[in-house]
Symmetry: C2
Subunit: 170 residues, 2 copies
């Protein structure tokens, strides 16, 4: 056999960290708490090796963490969906799986996806509401400013309009 099976871009922990925008320590920690799978068959002391799949998994974890603001523990539960779907893909390759078993896994994944979606929906709705409220408030404030300017227009030279956004550095 030619050396092709193991040659699917094996990254080391530092590379993975740079790509995902985090640190090796964080990756090891996520592995420790079960958010990332322990990189298969690794005798103690050997370096961890990652593939593209792990890059995506890590990025997904970080995105969910950021957007949903969950603890790593809750995140772990929520991410059962990914595992179920990974299971399906793995069993697909092995091909010796009954349709009944496949259905089981798919239904499981679907249920987890339902939970994720529900969480995301609620938050998206809340954020959207907040956005509307802020827009509304901003509109009122700006209207008041214009009113003030209109009143003084008679006696003073026109004031400069409000800048759309402060573009300088904080």
């Amino acid at each position: 056999m030619s050396a092709e099976k193991t040659r699917e871009q094996t990254l080391r922990i530092g590379d993975l960290a740079r790509i995902a925008g985090t640190t090796p320590r964080t990756i090891r920690y996520y592995e420790e708490v079960g958010l990332l799978p322990e990189t298969g068959e690794r005798a103690a002391g050997r370096h961890r090796l990652y593939t593209q799949a792990e890059v995506e998994r890590l990025q997904e974890v970080m995105r969910l963490k950021d957007l949903l603001g969950l603890t790593l523990e809750s995140l772990k539960e929520l991410l059962a969906a990914e595992e179920a779907r990974a299971e399906v893909r793995a069993q697909l390759r092995r091909e010796n799986v009954t349709p009944a078993r496949r259905r089981e896994l798919l239904v499981e994944a679907s249920g987890h996806l339902d939970r994720q979606l529900e969480l995301v929906r609620v938050r998206a709705a809340e954020l959207s509401k907040l956005q509307d409220e802020l827009s509304e408030t901003r509109k009122r404030v700006r209207r008041k400013i214009r009113e003030l300017d209109a009143r003084s227009e008679a006696t003073f030279p026109p004031q400069p309009p409000v800048a759309a956004s402060a573009k300088g550095r904080p």
Copy 2:
């Protein structure tokens, strides 16, 4: 003067905590780090008293913290908008403020609102994208399930459809 000025529903810290769904400790902590104003003129040892305005302020703080996932420090900066607007209202009552000063405060508030809105917009967009992706994935998973069911329909009795959502308790 009749005793009406001080009679606008004075809550104690425990009441405020219950209403806002938090604890007295948290409220004191928020006051300590400057997220909540120190309840006006309080000699050491006396109980804190709150009004409806503080209820809303606290709820707003908690909402932003939850939805944006910021540190209390960043939140403090962000909430400068509220203070600017509170200033405007306060000065409105005193009535001896020049239009120029009012305009200044309003412009300041408007700028802070811009910053808030930008933050909220970005997050709302990200969440919305995530929601779409999850919906898409879920659709694909369900389609696969239906395909499996269709295939087995010839040889086996029809499988029960997938429940819309697990309604049991976690």
